[in-house]
Amino acid sequence: MTRTRLVEIERDILDKNNGIAANNRALFIADDLLVFNLLSSPGAGKTTLLVRAVSELKCSRWVGVIEGDQQTSNDAKRIQAAGVPAVQINTGKNCHLDAAMIGDAYRRLPLLSGGILFIENVGNLICPAAFDLGETCKIVVFSITEGEDKPLKYPDVFAASSLMVINKIDLASLLEFDVGKAIEYARRVNPKIDVIVVSARTGEGFAALYAWIDRQAGRQRRAFEDKGR
């Protein structure tokens, strides 16, 4: 005769991913690396934004990119053409990157000590928000062609991000897009989110983006020093 037993578990469903993400984070901190996980819907301009950013940042520090797409290595090739190492992950039927994929891809990149690793997640505003990759922080990119209320329609990703980059501002004269309203909606979901408005095509706003990245570097360094004390 079998006996039914009740077993208490109390474990986070994403425990396994979170454990691997914690290992990634420890590795990134040991390598003195800033890691940004870029999230957006398909077509918001993440790759164009990255091509410009890495081309300009590579002059002053090591930069690498991990590209996530369901298929093709087109994006990694665009980054490599800008003179920066890039590894492509194809997720197949999966709609997001997970921490194990990032751990593997990172080992395939050259050492980037003291530099920046950008992770371009799969274009999807839902699932990637749930998966910690070990990044310093998440950045959500959204373009003005998507409408001001995107933060209210897909709140999880805006709640999980430290920075919202509003892209394609060069199209503002063609579209009736209210930047103030988009920021107000994003802050309803995440009162602490930073906002930078850019055009990946013209380069407008990129100086502010680089200044923001430098502030994150300073913040990480201070956190590291405080921990060492």
Partner: protein, 110 residues
């Protein structure tokens, strides 16, 4: 689906540890502000559980409310979803404090 596979993985580990062969029920705790909707989990679970130890197990989901600290009226309030205002003062200056969890709480095994 990845979340359902995560549930199955935790269940398989526990069942293996306890040398059990059958799972009667799985109890989950899902917060209102978590990344997955209970109905989506229920929908995917049967497919994810096929040909695993969890096949045929009952799935019980305890839904927990979203809770936030309102920085304007300095109190803890319940919210149903992100982007909602404080039900007391109408402010959007809210810091989520609970309701984000997705946990396997307990299992009933033979």
């Amino acid at each position: 689906m990845a979340i359902c596979l995560g549930i199955i993985q935790i269940v398989e580990e526990k069942v293996h540890e306890r040398s059990s062969s059958r799972v009667r029920s799985i109890c989950l705790e899902m917060g209102a502000l978590s990344h997955a909707a209970p109905e989506a989990i229920r929908f995917c679970f049967a497919a994810a559980a096929t040909r695993t130890v969890a096949e045929g197990a009952a799935l019980n989901i305890v839904e927990l409310p979203g809770v936030a600290w309102c920085m304007s009226c300095s109190k803890s309030v319940e919210i149903a979803r992100r982007g909602e205002c404080c039900p007391c003062c109408g402010s959007y200056h809210l810091q989520v404090t609970a309701g984000e969890q997705m946990r396997v709480k307990e299992l009933e095994i033979d």
